[in-house]
Assembly symmetry: C2
């Protein structure tokens, strides 16, 4: 379970009138003084006690921090930036941010303020880094050593891309990709395409894509791509371009390195190339979030719970094993279905005697896909959904 003092700790920091709230909490150090790497300024408002800070551009949610509910709060949602965020000044007037639309019959720029007049839609979506689970690979794949927490399920609100495209006369003929360009500042002296965050996805993804300005009821924070981010529900995080400044329908994929050789699945030691699979649609995955393996569990009845999701087909069911995959029992879902791109919470009550357990989960999708046992070895440690590595070692006492 996550620490129950977080909210109260923050009382200290948020107000000098916190005297009464503080009464029972003397002796607890404020989160800002916690050990480990500090949060970067852009994410300084996050709840560091429930996060693992890999670097200024890579922050993971602890397995124990997901709590017992369905949604992932902004305060603990993971963070991964390929380039540093733009200046916070762009959040002074988010409605003024503009995005250029191209590859449509009537290309033009539209501000966020204008987009807000064009349509509103909310989608519950799992955002997951392509490299989530990289920390389980044995060959030390380069990149943040995420375990399970480079993923979260949140509510995203904005305008459907298809609504904007319709207003601009539709997609021009021959365009096969939807290409989004991020508004990060390119460091001087560096060739733009070598670092620019620009990603292409199949053009028909516009049917489900949104241009979003709100996350879980809050103005989309700069750290997560505010003022405006494109989201492609069901696709890996990298395609959800932050600070989007251009959205174009294009005949070909972008020549940006992040697309041509980055985020490509290939064998260990192989260089990235355009003919390798791109990190687009997420695969079927589940993992246990409680017990989280952070301390012993009391013998007796235990609710084992976790999350299951897929980019392509809804999750039909989840089995749970407490003996590392020897035996499986079917779990139940423990919360509402929030739509095709959200994760489902599963729960299985079990009676556990004192001992050691390897607790893991295995999801099945409606299209018949079964979550695999093993990871697919690959150079950059992408797409890890193997249930064996995702097992939690738990001591019951």
């Amino acid at each position: 379970m996550k620490t129950s003092l977080d909210r109260n700790r923050r009382h200290f920091l948020l107000t000098s009138a916190g005297g009464a709230a503080a009464a029972g909490l003397a002796g607890f150090a404020p989160a800002a003084f916690a050990q480990g790497k500090p949060l970067p300024p852009v994410a300084a408002w996050k709840d560091i006690d429930r996060l693992i800070v890999h670097s200024a551009n890579g922050i993971e949610t602890k397995r124990s921090a997901f709590g017992d509910g369905v949604l992932t709060d902004n305060d603990i949602l993971f963070l991964r930036n390929n380039l540093g965020a733009p200046s916070a000044s762009i959040m002074a007037n988010p409605d003024a941010w503009s995005v250029e639309f191209d590859g449509v019959t009537g290309p033009r720029s539209l501000s966020v303020g204008e987009l807000k007049t064009m349509g509103i839609e909310t989608v519950a979506m799992v955002l997951q880094c392509s490299g989530n689970g990289r920390g389980f690979f044995a060959h030390k794949a380069s990149g943040s050593q995420w375990k399970v927490g480079a993923a979260g399920c949140s509510m995203w609100t904005g305008v459907p891309v298809k609504t904007v495209v319709a207003a601009l006369g539709g997609v021009r003929q021959g365009m096969r990709y939807m290409t989004s360009t991020g508004g990060e500042t390119i460091p001087p002296g560096i060739e733009e395409k070598s670092v620019q965050v620009e990603r292409s996805v199949p053009w028909n993804m516009m049917e489900r894509a949104l241009l979003v300005w709100e996350l879980n009821g809050e103005t989309l924070p700069l750290a997560h791509g505010g003022p405006l981010r494109v989201i492609i529900p069901g696709y890996y995080g990298v395609n959800n371009v932050k600070y989007v400044k251009r959205l174009a329908f294009t005949a070909d994929e972008t020549k940006a390195k992040i697309q041509t050789s980055g985020y490509r699945v290939r064998g260990i030691g192989v260089k990235g190339a355009p003919n390798q699979p791109s990190m687009w649609e997420m695969n079927l995955k589940s993992f246990v979030t409680h017990p989280a393996g952070e301390g012993p569990v009391r013998a007796g009845l235990v609710q084992i719970h976790g999350v299951a999701f897929s980019g392509s087909s809804a999750v039909k069911g989840v089995d749970v094993s407490v003996d590392g995959g020897g035996n499986w029992l079917p779990a139940a879902f423990s919360g509402p279905l929030l739509g095709p791109y959200a994760w489902r919470r599963f729960v299985l009550p079990v009676r556990l005697r004192a001992g050691s357990y390897a607790i893991t989960s295995r999801a099945v999708a409606y299209d018949g896909t079964v979550q695999p046992e093993l990871r697919v070895e690959n150079e950059r440690g992408y797409t890890h959904s193997g249930w064996r590595d995702h097992a939690v070692k738990v001591t019951v006492a």
Copy 2:
């Protein structure tokens, strides 16, 4: 729309490392220095810029603060306490809080830690004060003068009451009510039943009730009833007893004043009595959240959106009027259905020319109920769902 700087403002308060985030924001005063009544210590962490503080025990969400999404964030969820919250020390170890179960075959106490081993369920639920809309009554009904914002839709997680009851052998025969007692401290010298928060609801509400410890993925804050609160989805807020210390199945309703004469619907000038309708099931209601009437709107295409909910029957549709009820147009839903006790977001795009408008909404439920035009006059200003009073006056320029 809510102010988009809130998240950034809070960076200042949450960290001394906020330099970079601060760069573009110089000159904005931190929320703690905003005008008006201050937040009480128990809710000092809330986002005061998006709230109306009526009193230390009554805090309302601004109509403009609900944003464009479906869920209401903890930072802006309304607050209403009948008694002050217990000491914050009870949050030092929430799992140690215990609740006594009675009126079951095997009465006993259970700690929150034990309840967490018994079951997990998440429900999206509208929490609404019985007096929401009281500020629209003409006779100055006593109590907080709420407009629309003593309501919010959030995700609540805990154990189903029916699961606990089953584990305790079931409800004893002849019990017609489920009676929950709050753990507030009774001020010395005051007769307990005259102020104690103890509410009875029909016993079969146990089928949908939960004992919750988590709100929107965060440990349930003290302000909202942590460590443990009972929720009765579909029922008015007062029945969702905070800091619940006893849950009993009883033959009769509690004799606490809050039940016998409080929260009873009666004519103006009439005293409360047990034979009057109790504030149990919520009625069908909707209101517009954008435009919020806080400033002029630009002529052209405008997305009118808001929320619709009911305690008894799912919302089938919502009509919107921009001329105070003269003409109506059907709105669409703009987000996922989160279950029977959540609210639905509706949206209607309209082209508005310069002028003055009275924008309102009218919901219809699957059981045929239609949201009424007028309030039902009553002593305490309860149950207001009349669409006329809930209209927003908007200037389009």
